[in-house]
Structures are given as structure tokens and as C-alpha cells.
């Protein structure tokens, strides 16, 4: 038990974080390099002001037309993404690990709140799964990989939830939780979860084109 736990919490965690950070940097740098080489126009038309203006209208729920037209989706996806980011970063148990390893710590969520947020993430995954299975326009463009990605995202939260509540097989779920978290971290730069990395850029570029060239709104 000590050995396995220490392995997933130690060396494997290092590997996961290195791949996550390294992979993210690699994707970003690769994007900028080929943009320089083959798509130089994106730099010419890029505008910080209009880029931010566009991002602003898309990170606020109901600040753009599409999100107003799909209120349920908007609520789910915003709740999902906020919880997805905030719960792990501000989780007491996670921050304690950072403190233990590196002596750094920050404000944490009350555990009860984090618990609810975890359920929101799991609920969001179920909603997305339901869309993929039933909504024709989503189903048509859904591949097996989309389900795998959904599972990768759901797994750390499901296992974390089970481990936190210690109902049955605490240590088993805990180890699985750590592994699932590591898989997700590594998956971010190397799967479509890369939208986490790219989306500010695609949004800002479209915002720049619309703002400074087209003089039109893009929300």
C-alpha cells in the first residue's frame, strides 16, 4: 500500500505534470511556429483589444446570442467548466498535498461545497453524454473518441467523490482517483481537451477579425 500510493503520488504525479506542462507548452509553441511560418496573417490581424472583447463576451453566460438561445446548455456548461477548474484547484486535500510537497498553499473551498461541485461536474458529464446519445446534430459528429474523452474527464471526479465519502474500498478509490487525475492531466494537451489551451486564441482571433477588420460584433 505504501509503495503503490507513494508511486502514484510521487513519480507518476511528476510524470503527469511534466507531460501536462510540457505538452501544453509544446502545443502552444508549435501553434505559434507554424502560424509564423505559414499563417502569418493571424499576427497581422491580431488585436488585443478586440480579442479580449470577444473573450469577454464568451466567458460570461448569456452575454452572447447562442448562449441565450440555449439557456439549459449554458447553465450546465458554465457550471460544469467552473466546477471542473475550481474544485480540483481549490480542494483542501489537494492544497495540503501541495503544501506537504512544496510548502505552498492557498485558499480552499469548504469540503461540503467542493463535494457539491464534484457532483455538478459528474452531472455535467452525464448531460453531455445524453446529448451525444440523443441529439441528432451532436450524435452525427460524435466519434468513439468523444466518449473516451468524456470518460477521462468524469473519472477523476467520480473516483474522487467515492474516495472522499469513504463508503467502500477507500484506498482503492483513492489510488484510482490519483491515476485518473493524472490521465486527465496528460490528456489535456494531447486530445480535444486541448480546447482548454487553444480556445482563448481561436476566440481572440475571430474577435480581432470581427472587431478590427469587419467592425462587427461576434457574439
Amino acid at each position: 500500500m505504501h509503495g503503490l500510493y507513494n508511486f502514484v503520488r510521487g513519480p507518476l504525479a511528476w510524470v503527469a505534470f511534466i507531460l501536462f506542462v510540457g505538452g501544453t507548452l509544446y502545443r502552444l509553441i508549435a501553434m505559434l511556429v507554424i502560424a509564423r511560418k505559414k499563417d502569418n496573417v493571424v499576427f497581422d490581424y491580431f488585436s488585443l483589444f478586440y480579442g479580449l472583447r470577444s473573450i469577454f463576451h464568451w466567458i460570461i453566460p448569456f452575454a452572447n446570442r447562442n448562449s441565450r438561445q440555449r439557456p439549459i446548455f449554458t447553465i450546465v456548461t458554465f457550471a460544469f467548466h467552473i466546477c471542473l477548474l475550481a474544485a480540483p484547484i481549490l480542494l483542501l486535500a489537494h492544497v495540503l498535498l501541495w503544501d506537504e510537497s512544496f510548502g505552498i498553499s492557498w485558499w480552499t473551498l469548504p469540503e461540503g461545497v467542493a463535494d457539491i461541485m464534484t457532483l455538478i461536474v459528474i452531472g455535467g458529464c452525464i448531460y453531455f453524454l445524453w446529448r451525444r446519445l440523443t441529439q441528432p446534430e451532436v450524435k452525427f459528429v460524435t466519434f468513439a473518441s468523444d466518449f473516451v474523452i468524456l470518460a477521462i474527464v468524469a473519472a477523476p471526479f467520480i473516483t474522487g467523490f467515492l474516495a472522499y465519502h469513504q463508503w467502500l474500498g477507500y484506498k482503492f478509490w483513492l489510488i484510482l482517483h490519483i491515476l485518473a487525475g493524472e490521465v486527465m492531466l496528460v490528456a489535456i494537451p494531447f486530445t480535444r481537451l486541448a480546447h482548454m489551451i487553444y480556445s482563448p486564441f481561436t476566440r481572440a482571433y475571430m474577435g480581432s477579425e470581427f472587431g478590427s477588420v469587419r467592425h462587427a460584433r461576434d457574439w
Binding site: 503544501d99 506537504e100 469513504q166
Partner: protein, 143 residues
């Protein structure tokens, strides 16, 4: 015994067990079954399960200052111990300096020893079980 002491020296930097002597004098050390420290107030998790006598017997700890240590100028004083003062006298709940904060002191002291000896709980739920103490005993003994 000696190995244990060396192991502890490597692992820890500061801490004191308090409850035994000063805070609730009515208790004797036989009564201690958890590390319920009043200084924390109401914690988010139940206090860590800790059966003082059984633990020390099993871990073969005889010297109080393995845990109830005294530090002077950053050095542990070998033949002094601090079971007559509270942990929180030196380890503030919030402020770390110059000693480590109370929770971290507990975590580091327990876990570093468990890690070194490769026995005893090292994960959250093993020390802070949601269910009654019984499952914690399992955790305690299940190494």
C-alpha cells in the same frame, strides 16, 4: 529503538503533543483515542484517530520526546520533552513562523514517521475516517 529515533530525526522538524498533560488534566494518556485539538475549533474532517497507548506499544516508542519534542535554535533538544505543554502553544493554527502551523505539524510528524517505517496510515481517509472510530482502528492496525 535507535533506528526509530534516527528515522524520526530525518523525518520531522517540529511538533508537540499537548492534550495529554496540560489541556485536559483529567485525562490520563490511556484515555486518548483521537488527536482532538481544541485549538482547531470545528475542523472540516473528524479528528485523527490515535489510540495513544496502543500506538506507542505497537510502534515501540518509549521516549516521550519522539513526539513531544522541544526545539531550541532549530535543533531538537535530545533529553527534554514537552508533554506538559500544548502543541498549539508553539504551533499556531494559522501562522506558521517560526514553527510550522498546527495541522501541518501533525501531518508531517505522523506521516513522515509512517513513511520512514513503511507502516501506518498516510492518506487522508485513513486517519480521518468519516465513520466511527472502529474503521480507524482498522486503518491503524491494518498495516
Amino acid at each position: 529503538m535507535k533506528r526509530l529515533r534516527i528515522g524520526l530525526l530525518i523525518g520531522m522538524t517540529a511538533l508537540a503533543w499537548v492534550m495529554v498533560s496540560s489541556s485536559i488534566p483529567a485525562y490520563s494518556q490511556e484515555d486518548i483515542t483521537s488527536l482532538k485539538d481544541e485549538a482547531f475549533g470545528k475542523g472540516q474532517r473528524p479528528p485523527a484517530v490515535f489510540v495513544h497507548e496502543a500506538h506507542n506499544e505497537k510502534a515501540e516508542i518509549e521516549d516521550c520526546n519522539v513526539c513531544h519534542h522541544v526545539y531550541k535554535n532549530g535543533e531538537k533538544v535530545e533529553d527534554e520533552s514537552s508533554e506538559d505543554s500544548r502543541c498549539s502553544d508553539c504551533h499556531n493554527v494559522k501562522k506558521g513562523y517560526p514553527t510550522r502551523p498546527l495541522m501541518k505539524a501533525y501531518h508531517d510528524l505522523c506521516k513522515s514517521c509512517h513513511q520512514t517505517k513503511k507502516v501506518g496510515p498516510i492518506t487522508c481517509g485513513e486517519c480521518h475516517p468519516r465513520k466511527a472510530a472502529s474503521s480507524a482502528h482498522e486503518a491503524e492496525e491494518g498495516h
